[in-house]
């Protein structure tokens, strides 16, 4: 009797398990299909990430191309097209084993030849590659699925830069035949390994991607850009819609399932709409005030410090962004949770509103009362309203400010000059996976800062040390010194962190708010 009962129970359990698994499978199967329509603000010149620093390109082409390494949700570096890696000779050699089962969009299996060809091109023309190149020796194909990266000197941030989402720095693998065909010219035939294939590109209108049926997902658990990517959608259409209200209307009517950067003041309206979900991404952007360190009075660090004391950052937050759920005061270059976050960065100066001290510092710097030019963009709310609010606050302590608001191309051209401006407000991407990346705009004559002094050379030295230090604890201490030096010399500073508002339809499921929008693992209900 007992035996019969046990047998019946086992049979029942098997039937039940089968039922559940078939239901799960059916549900999984149901997720496949559909065309996702998205609305993005800006079109791009082309789709070749190596040939531009416009990160909108990688936001779309992340679906087509993949990196050897990718970052997960917590910014942990994870092998992606790489199966494993080994760092040898105290950081001079990196041996990388590739996954052997990765099919490319041309039907071939990805191998070391594709990686070597893509890497050489990346090293030559990509913004990230150009950071690596001065320290790099050579890339060697050990066999079909093993490669070796050799450096002339230790270059600690190498792997982080390979996966960096900043300014299209990420190294992605393209088919060797495409590299042979285009060389360093702009690529317009796209053969990658990603879950979606390039189908159609209509400049200024749309980019259409279709599911890559032979996609080989990473065996690791999916988390943001790392691990398993499942292409549930048949098709993804990136539409370029310059007018924010049209993007909003498109989501309201269901024409679009996702819209990038919509007006933050409509947050409550979207909240009340049952078909729409608000998407606030953090970390997203920093509001950076950059000084022209070559132009008096900001060729003196006391004048630069004075501006930090003269500004009420909280008031600026309300003026430039508005609703406090979209911004937060943050003195560190890396957000909380990032392994490089320095919690006490800027203590004693950041967020200390002290107009009297500001006046004293200006006097110490020998400021002669000349009008100070704030150069800023007029098309972006943060830049426009921030510049106006900064002008207002500085004028309150007797500084004569001339506001120059222009469209983007004019701002980009003017700020590249050594004279004609004193301060510039610019949005920076917050997610910087390695502190070395800041070297691109921090140090002697880096980017537009025109910073060339004893302090800038000291900063160069700090970055040089950081470059060679492979131990995390030791490197973190250098990052603390870098942050301290930054808040002492103040060639630029972050006023606050802020987030843009994106919206999506409720039928778009499993959407995760990454630092760049991505649609693998999402499906339409």
């Amino acid at each position: 009797m007992k035996k019969k009962l046990r047998l019946s129970l086992i049979v029942l359990l098997i039937v039940f398990s089968l039922l559940i698994s078939s239901t799960v499978l059916a549900q999984e199967e149901d997720r496949f299909g559909g065309t996702l329509n998205t609305a993005f603000q800006m079109s791009v010149a082309h789709l070749d990430t190596d040939n531009s620093t416009d990160s909108m390109i990688s936001a779309m082409m992340n679906h087509v191309y993949e990196g050897l390494f990718e970052f997960d949700e917590n910014l942990n570096l994870t092998p992606h097209l790489a199966a494993s890696y080994e760092i040898k000779e105290n950081g001079l050699v990196y041996d990388v084993k590739l996954r052997e089962d990765v099919r490319m969009h041309n039907g071939e299996l990805m191998d070391a030849d594709d990686v070597v060809a893509s890497f050489r091109r990346w090293l030559e023309i990509n913004n990230g590659g150009q950071l690596v190149a001065p320290h790099f020796d050579e890339i060697e194909k050990l066999d079909q699925y093993n490669i070796r990266f050799k450096f002339e000197e230790v270059y600690a941030p190498f792997l982080n830069i390979l996966a960096s989402p900043v300014s299209n720095q990420k190294f992605v693998v393209r088919a060797e035949e495409v590299i042979d065909e285009f060389g360093t010219d702009v690529i317009d035939r796209h053969v990658g390994t990603g879950p979606y294939k390039y189908e159609e590109w209509v400049p200024d209108q749309k980019l259409v991607l279709t599911r890559f049926e032979d996609y080989t997902p990473s065996p690791r658990e999916g988390s943001f850009f790392a691990g398993e990517r499942i292409p549930y959608l048949n098709k993804i259409v990136f539409n370029f819609i310059p007018d924010a209200q049209v993007r909003v209307s498109g989501v309201q009517t269901g024409q679009f399932h996702f819209a990038e950067e919509v007006p933050r003041d409509q947050y409550q309206i979207f909240k009340m709409d049952q078909n729409i979900k608000n998407v606030i991404i953090y970390p997203d952007r920093m509001s950076m005030l950059i000084f022209n360190n070559a132009e008096a009075p900001f060729d003196n660090k006391y004048a630069r410090q004075a501006i930090a004391y003269a500004l009420d950052f909280e008031e600026l937050g309300y003026a430039m962004i508005g609703d406090p759920q979209f911004w937060r005061l943050e003195s560190a270059l890396h957000e909380k949770g990032n392994p490089w976050h320095v919690s006490d960065a800027g203590s004693g100066i950041y967020g200390v509103y002290d107009p009297e001290k500001a006046k004293q510092l200006l006097e110490r710097a020998g400021y002669d009362g000349q009008p100070l030019v704030i150069l800023s963009g007029q098309d972006n709310q943060m830049e426009r309203q921030g510049a106006i609010a900064i002008q207002d606050q500085l004028e309150k302590i007797g500084i004569d400010v001339e506001l120059q608001l222009f469209d983007r191309p004019t701002v980009v051209e003017r700020r590249a000059k050594k004279e004609g401006w004193h301060m510039h407000l610019s949005p920076f991407i917050k997610v910087v996976p390695d502190p070395q990346i800041h070297q691109g705009w921090t140090g002697t004559n880096k980017w537009i800062t025109n910073w060339d002094s004893k302090d800038s050379r000291q900063m160069d030295q700090i970055f040089a040390e950081m470059l060679r230090e492979v131990d995390y604890e030791q490197r973190y201490k250098i990052v603390e010194r870098m942050q301290a030096e930054l808040w002492d010399s103040v060639p630029y500073f972050n006023i606050l962190d802020y987030s843009r508002l994106h919206i999506r339809r409720t039928e778009l499921k499993n959407f995760q708010a990454g630092w760049q929008p991505f649609f693998w693992n999402t499906y339409l209900e």
């Binding site: 082309h46 051209e413 003017r414």
Partner: protein
Amino acid sequence: MRNYIIKRILLLIPILFIVALIAFFITNLMPGDPVRVILGNMAAEAEIVRVKASLGLDQPLIVRFFKWLANIVRGNFGDSLYLNAPVSQVLAERIRPTFLIAVFAEVFGITAGLLLGILAAVKHRKFLDQFSITISLFGISIPSFWLALILMYIFSVRLGWFPVSGYEPFAEAGLGTFKYIVLPAVTLAFMQAGLIARMTRSAMLDTLKHDYIRTAKSKGLSTYSIVFKHALKNSMLPIITVIGHNFAVLLGGTWIVETIFVIPGTGFMAINAIMRRDIPVIQASIIFVALIYVVLNLLVDLSYAFLNPKIRYQ
């Protein structure tokens, strides 16, 4: 007449040369560096220099001007810095949706404008006259970008009759193309209708005072016959002028409307080109609009002779 036409066509050459001259120097002297836009915010200086050289933007302005002039005489406007294609090809592709919208807007505008104008003149100083004047005043005063968003909200968001944006060419979507162009065309037609209605009303009021209209009435002709066969026909000269001149204005209006509704026409192309300093495209757009203006002016002038036998150009 033939000599007059030839003379007028020959006059187009210096006009277009002056336009080309202005277009070239304005676009090259305006602030904003196209290469920095193409390469993005963080591009290295060496990379900027390399791309400038590859695009020929490092040559002296005067050298570039004569090269450019020699090319446009042969119909070659150069290559778009951004779209990676010859400008003439881009222009040819973008012209279709623009003309489709402009022609539909013109048809809507003329029909509505003439009807409102005639109604106002016939019912002078009555309710319908006031109604017509009010509507036409709205048409002239409402900015097209605002009207476009209002129409989008009512007909796309609330009623769901039309898509909020986008475009599919006739070859792909067939009649489905029209659902994309109705709202942009109606937006543009509104202003056109307002202008035509006002001009029709004033011209008709003037004509209806003439003796031959009184004679027609006393002969017992029907109102329809008096209004359409006698009064309207004799009022057409100023109306045609307004229609002709405003067709060019309407083409200019597509710049805003196409941008809002994301119609890939010449207007959207030109606005995008300005935003990113795609100099060859901006130059071609200016010359294209100028060409439309001068050709339409010529056609309007020539139509006078056709409509009014009293006008003799010889």
